[in-house]
């Protein structure tokens, strides 16, 4: 078991004929991901990495029996691609694309919510379940080892850094999940915690947050009340100045809200062991388990 992605996940790659789509569908297949079809309108009949390409998601789904989608199409078309995946009832829909207009994100997230579909991202590295050898994302698979700790994060490489540290320390991962670096993302931190809570094979959590918004504070409130297993946290951006976007569109301190200090305080009060450095995460996990 795991969350969102497991051995039964059959993935459609939207935008498979583009550079990113081709490269990462290859990497996913190599890792073990069951990619059953690709979609690029107008390119039906092509074959990329052995995967047949269709003109539309619905054709791809009906021909190959897919149940999830990963989207690599350029930002101006990513919202439409996500709506197409949602209309075809694929779930989850993982939107890798960066720079999607927020108005489009809001439409996509709302459309998914109405249908009870999970959108991950946009601007996410995706989801990986090492135990099932399934990744629906762009993360380097080898840094994630199988185990019983759930990992969620708003950033990519920082996740790899922490995952690598865990792997080196002999701690494995049930599912690792990038939530996306944009202010508006589909699956939120608190929703991710809830999903992990329902997963009986996840025995502890690592919550990697960053400045901006109050997703971590909300998750902390939930953890305090409802989550009994160990949680280790890390918050990036302690030294970030207010008013500046730190790379991610979502990583910005506005006024006094969204600071690392507030997040660390909320998590600590919720009983979460908050690491000072990425490398402390593995140590704190060992102590907690």
């Amino acid at each position: 078991m795991a969350i969102l992605v497991d051995k039964d996940t059959k993935v459609i790659v939207q935008g498979i004929t583009g550079g990113q789509g081709t490269f990462h569908s290859g990497a996913m297949l190599e890792y073990g991901t069951k990619i059953v079809a690709g979609v690029t309108p107008g390119k039906a009949g092509e074959v990329i990495n052995g995967v047949p390409v269709y003109d539309s998601v619905i054709e791809a789904k009906e021909s190959q029996g897919a149940n999830a989608s990963i989207i690599f199409v350029p930002a101006p078309f990513a919202g439409d691609a996500a709506l197409e995946a949602i209309a075809a009832d694929l779930n989850p829909v993982v939107v890798i694309t960066e720079h999607v207009p927020v108005k489009d994100e809001i439409r996509v997230i709302h459309a998914a919510k109405v249908k009870g579909i999970t959108v991950i991202g946009p601007n996410t590295p995706g989801v990986i379940t090492p135990g099932a050898k399934q990744k629906v994302g762009i993360m380097p698979g080898h840094v994630f080892s199988h185990g019983d700790v759930g990992l969620m994060s708003r950033s990519g490489t920082l996740t790899y850094e922490i995952a690598a540290g865990m792997t080196n320390a002999g701690i494995g991962i049930s599912t690792a999940l990038g939530l996306g670096g944009d202010p508006c993302v589909g699956l939120t931190t608190i929703e991710a915690v809830k999903l992990f809570k329902e997963d009986k094979d996840t025995k502890a959590l690592v919550l990697v947050g960053e400045i901006g918004g109050d997703a971590e504070e909300r998750a902390a409130a939930f953890i305090k009340k409802e989550y009994d297993l160990p949680v280790v946290g890390f918050i990036a951006g302690r030294t970030a100045p207010p008013g500046k976007r730190m790379g991610h569109a979502g990583a910005i301190i506005s006024g006094s809200s969204g600071t690392a200090a507030a997040k660390i305080k909320a998590l600590t009060e919720a009983g979460v062991a908050v690491a000072d450095k990425p490398s402390d995460v593995a140590r704190l996990l060992k102590e907690a388990l």
Partner: protein
């Protein structure tokens, strides 16, 4: 993209939103003309994409065109928040009965637009939120229906307005929403929105930020503005052009990393070891050698930089590419400050081999690297 007040007001007027009479001036002489056209006492405002320009002296009231000229001259010479004043806006000084706040932005928890209003305008919404949160009215916009006229009126009612002012102020909010929809606005504020003594509402100020990710949909307006985003210095502009995330800080260590989260964590690690970062530079995913070299070049343009920390977690980015980029920068003589390198992940061994051959030292953990670069800076100082 942040619009100047006068640019935002042009859009406001296109949506039939009342604004004070007046116009923009590039020179003191033009300011006199504008003030004369208004024919009443005016306000002279610095057109600069920075907050708190009032406190910085960028807003002055003038009773005569001559006075307007004098203030325009002063203000046009100013720099506010390290940015030059591009122009002044000369507008009729309104006879104020009440200052109101009206704004629309995006609520990231709800993943919805949120319309915000307060009868206690004039001060910043953040201050107001701390002092009198009960005076702030918020209404979320249904993503499938959009913001409706009746909701706009409910805003006005909840803010305490009565009679025909409900319709007038409601109409203001509705127009503001239509602008948000039309131009992918991620933040707009009218603060103050002024109710005059003769019972009329005017947008006395105007803040309008268009979602940068949506600019491809708004070529007509960008064309019309005939300018690039201007709230950036040369280094920032260069980084934007190269699609790198770049932020300048007060310290002296430039952090060049891949990924926003990792870059922030690197800044934090430097601080843990007693250092201070000067630069947040995220190369983004899949940086090649050329990009790495460019990143080093941009980082070193900032005079505060005393040392560089390159911290790469290879995923899509390959360590051999990074190594080649560093090597090229060194060979071109671009690296004018001590550099510390940490590099793991994809093609780690190939990359390390390249650096070893070139005699460039590297470290394996970000903690070692952060502590090392802090030491180096202390030696330099």
């Amino acid at each position: 993209m942040k619009l100047f007040e006068h640019e935002a007001k042009d859009i406001f007027r296109a949506f039939n939103m009342p604004t004070p009479s007046g116009g923009v001036a590039m020179t003191p002489k033009e300011a006199t003309e504008r003030a004369a056209e208004v024919g009443k006492p005016v306000v002279v405002k610095a057109m600069v994409l920075a907050g708190k320009r009032g406190k910085a002296g960028g807003v002055k009231f003038a009773d005569t065109p001559q006075e307007a000229e004098k203030f325009a001259e002063e203000i046009l010479k100013m720099r506010i928040n390290d940015l030059p004043v591009e122009a002044v806006l000369i507008e009729e000084k309104l006879d104020i009965e009440q200052e109101i706040y009206a704004g629309i932005t995006i609520d990231r928890n709800e993943r919805k637009y949120v319309v915000i209003g307060s009868a206690a305008g004039g001060m910043s919404i953040e201050e107001l939120a701390e002092e009198s949160p009960e005076k702030i009215i918020k209404m979320y916009v249904d993503p499938s229906l959009g913001f409706q006229a009746f909701e706009a009126r409910q805003m006005a009612i909840a803010m305490g307005f009565k009679g025909k002012q409900i319709n007038q102020l409601g109409s203001f909010f509705l127009k503001l929403w239509k602008i948000v929809e039309a131009y992918d606005v991620e933040l707009t504020e009218i603060n103050p929105l002024i109710l005059t003594k003769d019972g009329k509402f005017y947008a006395a100020d105007a803040r309008l930020n268009i979602d940068d990710n949506s600019l491809y949909r708004h070529k007509a307006i960008i064309e019309k503005l005939k300018r690039e985003p201007v709230d950036q210095n040369e280094r920032e502009r260069l980084a934007t052009e190269n699609d790198m995330a770049y932020v300048e800080l007060d310290g002296n260590i430039a952090c060049i990393c891949n990924g926003a989260g990792l870059t922030m964590a690197t800044l934090d690690a430097i601080s843990l070891y007693g250092g201070k970062a000067s630069t947040f530079l995220d190369l983004g995913g899949g940086a090649d050698a050329e990009r790495v070299e460019k990143g080093i070049e941009i980082a070193l343009m900032y005079p505060k930089v005393k040392a560089i920390l390159v911290n790469i977690m290879g995923g899509i980015t390959r360590c051999d590419d990074v190594a080649r980029g560093i090597l090229a920068a060194r060979n071109d003589g671009d690296i004018t400050a001590p550099i510390v390198i940490r590099m793991v992940g994809t093609n780690e061994e190939e990359g390390q081999e390249i650096l070893k051959k070139a005699g460039i030292p590297f470290l394996k953990t970000m903690e070692e690297a952060a502590s090392k670069v802090v030491e180096l800076v202390k030696e330099v100082a």
